[in-house]
């Protein structure tokens, strides 16, 4: 393990990159999930069809392929646009950090759409009717009645989605983000100890997923505290 000691600061720095990707992707993922669930639950047939197309495509396509399409696709489009203004330009891309976070959030957002949809449906209709009877508008009903009750139902599945997100960050090394897989590759090329280095990567990810599992467990207890005394 002495070989690892010299690389600890690099692993630490790239683990922070992973954490940053996770936070950005999480925000995006929740956005796609809520938009998708809203589209699937609203009365518009077109919105429903678009959301269904979104979930079908992104739940059936490998994450790696989505990542490659987003990164190389956007790079070719941006380069094309840039060359209109300046023919000297060779290559323009979205930074791998943002392209990567966006790509994995699209995939996991498709799963979150189904989770959120189920959670919104799980909120008792009587609650929404009561809110209407009290004179709450749709916006107030959403934020004060629906949302506080649905997140409790969505939590267990959403914890799994967060674990998927953190594990999918490992793919972003394929498009050149300098995260822990990249650090392991660099460390291997110097020390010639691939097993040790990738084992460190595995342990870092295991730590991340363990923290998420523990965090979701604590949140679940908090969310269900009103049921505790009922037992």
């Amino acid at each position: 393990m002495s070989a690892v000691a010299g690389w600890l600061d690099d692993f630490l720095r790239s683990a922070v990159v992973i954490l940053e990707v996770l936070l950005v992707a999480l925000a995006m993922c929740v956005t796609w999930g809520l938009l998708g669930a809203a589209a699937k639950l609203c009365k518009s047939r077109i919105a429903f069809r678009i959301a269904t197309l979104y979930t079908t495509v992104f739940r059936g396509t490998p994450e790696l392929l989505v990542l490659l399409i987003v990164y190389f696709g956007s790079a070719i489009t941006l380069t094309g646009i840039a060359q209109v203004f300046d023919p000297e330009v060779k290559f323009v891309d979205i930074p791998p950090f943002w392209a990567g976070a966006f790509a994995i959030s699209l995939v996991v957002g498709a799963y979150a759409t189904e989770t959120f949809r189920g959670a919104f449906l799980g909120v008792d209709v009587g609650q929404v009717e009561a809110a209407r009877a009290l004179g709450l508008g749709p916006v107030h009903t959403f934020f004060y009645v629906r949302l506080p009750q649905m997140w409790r139902l969505a939590l267990p599945s959403f914890g799994n989605h967060m674990n998927s997100l953190i594990k999918d960050t490992s793919l972003i090394s394929v498009i050149g983000l300098e995260e822990i897989m990249y650090t392991a590759e660099m460390a291997t090329s110097v020390t010639n100890r691939p097993f040790t280095m990738y084992l460190v990567v595995a342990l870092i990810y295991l730590a991340f997923t363990s923290v998420i599992v523990a965090g979701v467990w604590a949140l679940e207890r908090y969310a269900n505290r009103h049921l505790e005394t009922a037992r």
């Binding site: 059936g60 696709g73 070719i76």
Partner: protein, 229 residues
């Protein structure tokens, strides 16, 4: 920049050629993973700690780490040890094909074990007791009462796992395999037409996902024929 449809048609036969490798990776890992999952699930529900704990540790580690990392530990990592390069297994561990299958099997086994465990524990206790009342031995109760119902309960979640594994096989392209994604990446490197090629590859995966869903729907109908009136 423009979307060249003719390029899609020109490259589609080549991409379809990668299906063979993808299907082999999928089917072999699914079968081996299922064997591993059954063993792990039985160990997990066992009351003997010496059986239950290793199973729990295996499931925890393989569900808690990315499959790409597992693949790299096996393919790039294992040759670090001289004894592996000298062992009888080296002709297998040297091949990206077998490394991919080992990684996918271990990963799928961990997820499927939890699904099977859920299925087994979801079987109504009353049925178990009825089996006992009829004088069935524990082994008979498991084979004739618990297992058929557990399979039906586990099927929907297991079909999601099959699709996850199909998507995971795309990672084999990172260790030089020429599966659907691998072939697509090679063509993109030559043509630099990522939209056309990668979207064609995505369509191949979507078609395969659809096939899996149809097949499982049929299996589900058959497994639950006793509940239909």
């Amino acid at each position: 920049m423009s979307f060249d449809v003719s390029l899609v048609f020109a490259s589609l036969p080549e991409i379809v050629g990668g299906i063979g490798v993808t299907v082999q990776l999928l089917v072999l890992s699914l079968l081996l993973g299922l064997v591993l999952a059954v063993a792990t699930a039985l160990m997990r529900i066992s009351r003997i700690p010496l059986l239950a704990w290793p199973a729990l540790a295996y499931v925890y580690v393989f569900r808690g780490t990315p499959i790409l990392v597992q693949l790299f530990v096996i393919y790039y990592g294992l040759p670090q040890f001289a004894f592996i390069q000298e062992s009888v297994l080296w002709p297998i561990l040297r091949e990206p094909y077998w490394c991919a299958i080992i990684a996918f099997t271990l990963n799928n086994g961990a997820y499927a074990a939890e699904i099977l465990r859920g299925g087994i524990q979801g079987v109504d206790r009353g049925l178990h007791e009825a089996g006992r009342a009829l004088g069935l031995s524990p082994r008979q109760r498991f084979i004739y009462v618990t297992a058929p119902i557990a399979v039906r309960l586990a099927l929907p979640a297991y079909s999601n796992e099959m699709i996850s594994l199909l998507k995971a096989t795309a990672l084999a392209s990172t260790i030089t395999m020429a599966d659907v994604t691998g072939v697509a990446r090679t063509i993109v490197a030559k043509t630099f037409a990522p939209y056309e090629i990668f979207i064609s590859a995505a369509l191949v995966y979507l078609a395969m996902t659809w096939l899996i869903q149809r097949a499982v729907a049929l299996a589900e109908r058959r497994a639950s024929r006793y509940v239909r009136t």
